[in-house]
């Protein structure tokens, strides 16, 4: 996983609530056995018409937003299916940070596993950032994870909160399986205890 330290880039405003993962990437594009190459299908139904032509009114089809690295949206972003194809598609498109008032739980976890930073900020601040974002290329946002701030084009710094453990993993690009395996002796002893106390629990064989 790539590290996330600081990011300065174009932010795309997507003033929609309840952006579900079917919207981010419809199920028909999940028939892949790879993590890469999904960016072309990101927001497929919003981005393209039935004939595959771009819908000019959709933000990611407009000038500077084709290179957006930050996405700003409204409440409950990423609700619905657990498909990690949603963050994979965002990442493949080039988006490394999503800012919204809140996120659905599974999507929120999935973003961290892929080096994408989800930032929770109050609705009114998201709306201010969306106004900044509407200036496209002329108004880049900077995200500084170590300092936990979003820097607006006018220099104003907005602090955000993040779980310290997840921040540590992102800043250092750490694989959390490796982290967990440091606790292998505890897992071994838990399993031994479980075998003794829950000997009723059968194993699965076919």
């Amino acid at each position: 996983m790539d590290k996330f330290t600081t990011l300065t880039g174009v932010a795309a405003p997507l003033p929609m609530a309840n952006v579900d993962t079917d919207k981010i990437i419809p199920a028909r594009f999940l028939k892949t056995i790879k993590r890469t190459g999904l960016g072309v299908h990101l927001f497929d139904t919003l981005r393209f018409d039935a004939d595959g032509n771009e819908r000019p009114d959709f933000v990611l089809n407009q000038g500077p937003y084709r290179r957006a690295e930050i996405l700003i949206a409204h409440e409950n972003f990423g609700c619905g299916s657990s498909r990690e194809h949603a963050p994979w598609a965002l990442l493949d498109f080039g988006i490394r940070c999503v800012i919204a008032p809140d996120f659905a739980d599974i999507f929120h976890t999935n973003t961290f596993k892929n080096g994408i930073l989800p930032i929770r900020l109050p609705r009114e601040i998201c709306d201010q950032l969306m106004e900044d974002a509407k200036q496209g290329d002329n108004a880049r946002l900077t995200i500084d994870l170590a300092e936990q701030v979003v820097v607006r084009p006018n220099g104003e710094k907005i602090r955000f909160e993040i779980d310290p453990f997840r921040k540590h993993l992102l800043l250092n690009g750490l694989d959390d399986i490796g982290q967990t395996l440091q606790h292998a002796p505890s897992i071994d002893s838990y399993e031994a205890k479980q075998q003794a106390e829950k000997s009723w629990m059968p194993g699965i064989t076919v």
Binding site: P15, M16, A17, N18, D20, D22, K23, P26, A27, R28, L30, K31, T32, I33, K34, R35, T45, A50, H74, E75, N76, C79, G80, S81, S82, R83, E84, P87, D102, A104, D105, I106, T109, N110, K113, N114, D163, P164, F165, D176, I177, Q179, T180, L181, H183, A184, S186, I187, Y190, E191, Q194, K198, S199, W200, M201, P202, G203, I204, T205, V206
Partner: protein
């Protein structure tokens, strides 16, 4: 699972607290827990990249005997013996078959009767049991919480994490109690209860929480109904839903192929009886509904909180004060091809889908057949019934349910996820309106441009024979 919260180390505990505490391998200084996972369910769509990850890092599956794999999402629901025609679907299933062989993971093959939707077969096989932690790379894993387990959906990175370590790094979720008092009126089902709950608390009402469903109306549900309720917890934003195990749970478990038997079952039940919340256990949030006030429910919009009683009319976005919400409602009305004020029962439908992990159990097949018996699917309507598993299909056929449905003009198909998400050939075409027993009415969910109305199995069958959305109470 969400933001940390201080937890009492002693004192009365909830069902969630007890199951959680029994699975903490180690708690890290910041409150993150290494949480042990008892059961890992694996399917073809969200696992290939996880197995690839294991291969790349030279890791093994730590507990194949706690893992079960099955293909369900994109397999065809007819002509299965002839193989999968769609190449990308076939590759995904073949990849699963190769991975389970290489890593020694137990697998129910496509042509075996045990095959089915992963959330149907877990409880059906006795693989999902009370007090367990259960995960799967699918958000409807919440279904298994009906057994009194903590069951939740995970992404593919976490699938790999569980395969490699049999644990997850998690922070405790908050406790939310949804109590449904009273007795459910005739014509109303578990589906109507959960749709009403989502209508009340909203699609993000349970975010950061695990919902425990309790109260007289929940207690009165059979296990299938409890699974329907827990299944849709995620549609209220809660990663998991749970129902305290009781005698109905233990009776259900008894005799299931992979459940403990005899003296082992007695010991298991003795522990399971300690799991219900202690008197005085505190919940972070409580919501109370009166079942007696419910009517059969139907969604009108493009998320599950856009739901009304079947007797209602299409809402008018202009009545919404908040500008952003008004725009969202207007988009829903437009996408769904509706007119504000239109009666729900005036909406003509093109397709009926009965099945899915929400409503693909034998009880759901019976409910549909009870309405279909002696009636005919309305002209121009395509009505399909997709049992949730091979076992459900066999049972239904033994009861003659397939005959009733086929004679009424329904298609009787082979088990899988099917038109719930349209990854196989079962899809809506643009503009088609569908009465569906599935769980999501998102734009394009059942096929690009498709329009989904979520209902109970009896309501779906009533829609099929009427040709429009219908009030099942008029079929009594």
């Amino acid at each position: 699972m969400a933001d940390t919260k201080p937890r009492a180390l002693s004192g009365p505990r909830t069902l969630l607290d007890k199951v959680w505490d029994a699975h903490v391998v180690e708690q890290l200084p910041d409150g993150t827990c290494v949480l042990y996972i008892d059961r890992h369910l694996v399917h073809e769509v969200t696992s290939p990249q996880a197995f690839d990850g294991l291969r790349l890092s030279g890791r093994k599956v730590r507990r194949p005997d706690a893992t079960i794999a099955v293909a369900d999402h994109n397999i065809p629901t007819e002509g299965r013996a002839q193989g999968i025609k769609e190449e990308d679907s076939r590759i995904q299933v073949e990849t699963l078959e190769r991975n389970v062989a290489e890593f020694g993971v137990p697998y129910f093959p496509i042509l075996s009767p045990q095959q089915g939707i992963v959330h149907i077969i877990g409880p059906e096989q006795g693989i999902s049991l009370p007090g367990m932690t259960i995960v799967c790379g699918d958000s409807h894993t919440s279904t298994h919480g009906a057994m009194g387990s903590l069951a939740f959906g995970i992404g593919t990175s976490e699938v790999e994490h569980v395969l490699a370590t049999q644990t997850l790094l998690q922070k405790p979720a908050k406790n939310m109690l949804v109590r449904v008092d009273g007795t459910l009126p005739a014509g109303c089902t578990a589906k109507d209860i959960v749709l009403a709950i989502i209508g009340r608390i909203g699609t993000a009402g349970g975010t950061g929480h695990v919902i425990e469903f309790a109260g007289e109306a929940i207690r009165a549900l059979d296990m299938a109904g409890r699974m329907t309720v827990c299944n849709m917890s995620i549609e209220a934003g809660a990663r998991a839903g749970m129902i305290a195990p009781d005698d109905a749970t233990f009776d259900y478990v008894r005799g299931k192929p992979y459940a403990p038997k005899g003296e082992a079952l007695d010991r298991a039940i003795a522990w399971w009886r300690t799991l219900p919340a202690d008197a005085g256990a505190v919940y972070d949030k409580t919501v109370v509904l009166d079942a007696a006030t419910l009517a059969p429910m139907v969604t009108w919009g493009t998320n599950p909180e856009a739901v009304v009683p079947i007797t209602a009319t299409v809402p008018n976005p202009a009545d919404e004060a908040d500008e952003a919400k008004r725009a969202q409602l207007a988009r829903m009305v437009e996408y769904m091809g509706l007119t504000p004020g239109q009666k729900m029962t005036d909406l003509k439908i093109d397709v009926v889908f009965i099945g899915s992990c929400t409503n693909g159990r034998i009880e759901d097949m019976r409910a549909a057949a009870a309405i279909a018996k002696g009636r005919r699917v309305a002209p121009g309507v395509r009505a399909m019934v997709v049992p949730g598993s091979g076992i459900v299909k066999q049972q239904a056929e033994a009861e003659g349910i397939d005959r009733i449905l086929i004679e009424a003009g329904f298609e009787w198909r082979e088990p899988g996820c099917s038109m719930c998400l349209g990854m196989n050939p079962d899809k809506l075409t643009p503009g088609q309106r569908c009465a569906s027993t599935s769980n999501r009415n998102f734009e394009g969910r059942q096929g690009p441009g498709g329009r989904t109305h979520l209902v109970s199995p009896a309501m779906a069958a009533a829609a099929a024979v009427t040709g429009r959305l219908a009030d099942v109470r008029e079929f009594a």
